[in-house]
Amino acid sequence: MTGHPLAEQHPTEPDRAPAIGLRGASIGYGDVPVVQDVDLSVRPGEAVAVLGSNGSGKTTLARGLLGLASVLGGDVTVLGAPVGRLRERGRVGYVPQRHTVTGAVPATVREVVGVGRLARRGLLGRPTAADRAAVAEAIAAVGLGDRERDPVASLSGGQQRRVLVARALAAEPELLIMDEPTAGVDAANQETLARVLAEVSAAGTTLLVVTHEAGPLAGVLTRAVVVDHGRIRYDGPLAEAGPLAGDAGHHHPGDAEDRRGTAYRQHQPWTSSRPVHARDGEQ
């Protein structure tokens, strides 16, 4: 069998609109498409890894869902609404690909995370007790409850990434989009992140994680979408995505799929021209 037509594997449930729906979508910047003719449907509550090498277009795909890249053709819907017309953007959480918080003026963990709540508060809304509780809860969820009042700059890089995750969680999003959340983060912080995402996913939040190695989050993410040269080359279970799913060094301890260990070790994340259909013959 070759190819993985997503329509067969992930039929859209008629009763619920998909959390993410792309039909023949082209996404890019200016007039230049980076992602072309993509079909993708993610059901509410799914946990999806968007895999691919640098320059494959995986980040552009995610940015298109956030309104940060332009939809140049086809349909893109997010939480049931066309992406340009989604009025409650606060329902979508976003963790950008950024290693640290870099503002010139110091800000505390609580101040940065509080920003995540703004989209839920309307144009002039003052923070309510519920807003403050959501912020405190989000900070506690990423394990930084005792650092709430500390300047973000005094935290380690991995902890700063967790602050950005908490910022996204504070909005209590229905869809959480993350760009390379594990890049440059040490093993302990990766484990914390995996635990947080497992909880978020169990609560019903749809996850879309852009990454070049799904290994550290393999226990959470169940479906993989592999992007290469701006097109989807694989869409199916993460466990069967083969060497594209990540390398063995960061394999999640809870995942017993060790038979592919060799393949993982051969995977070199910096090569962009490797074959993307390697696993197809074995399915």
């Binding site: 010139a104 800000a107 920003v115 009042r149």
Partner: protein, 342 residues
Amino acid sequence: MEILQYEFMQRALLASLMVGVTAPAVGVFLVQRRLSLLGDGLGHVALVGVGVGVLTSSAPVGAALVAAIAGAVLIELVRARGRTSGDVALAVLFYGGIAGGVVLLSLAPPGQATNLDAYLFGAITTTSTGDLVAFGVITVVVLSVVGLLGQRLYAVSDDEEYARAVGLPVLALNVVLAALVASTVVLSMRVVGLLLISALMILPSAVAQLLAGSFRQAVLLACGIGLVVSVTGTTASYYTGTPSGGTIVLLAIALFLLVTLAVAVREATGRRRHRRRVGLHAAHPHEHGEDCGHRPVPHGDHVDYDHDGHLHAPHRTGTGVHYDEHGAHPVTTPAEGKAGRP
């Protein structure tokens, strides 16, 4: 006090008080956004308004306000459209502003107050009662908007892309911030002058960011510093006979250098103390680890080791690992010890 006997000095001090609080309250967002020189550019643009105001014999303050706000909105629209041409567009706008202002002022009929210096470098003692009323209104409006939208302005200044992704009205907030800057420019015109306006927006924030532990603290501290520097500078300028704008700005720079130095000294002594303590354990017999025989104690994001009654925290540097002292002997609980093992 002698200085308060003169009405023009009363007005001057009142104006400097309003400017001192307002300019940093707006400037702190510019510093956060790394757009420190926006105020400077809008000062240039405001000069066209002054020129128009003088030429038409109407209020220069009102005309400057209109010109500066129009310029601010234009700049944000240019910035929102793309960055490559934005840089040049800003330069055209800024220099067009100052050139237009100079030419318009030169065309004013004789007998008009066309002292360019007064607008460029401030002439605080010429502040009229009418000016004070206008400044009061601007101060109240600017501070109210900052109070109301402060957190949103922070969000956009800190991470514009994130703000856009979660649906905050980024363009509207940027326009609001630019309009606030423009209003502050006009407010500061008499006190520090159009060429030195940025200094009073930026320097107090620069000092505050060295000392503050939170953004909120930084804003309040910047306003406090601005107030002190502005009023002190104005008072000093009365006694020394120097221009108020230059005096205020030099005072702010002196404070900035002083605080920078103090922070650097504090950090250096901190490092020295750290090295001295590290020296005590330079000949550390082994690297602490899972089965080193010393009880692990979780401490924030790392694990300390109970070493003969005090805590050792691993500190990894380019040259290897050494152990920092992290306090005295903790209370021993078996559960704690267990949790510390990876």
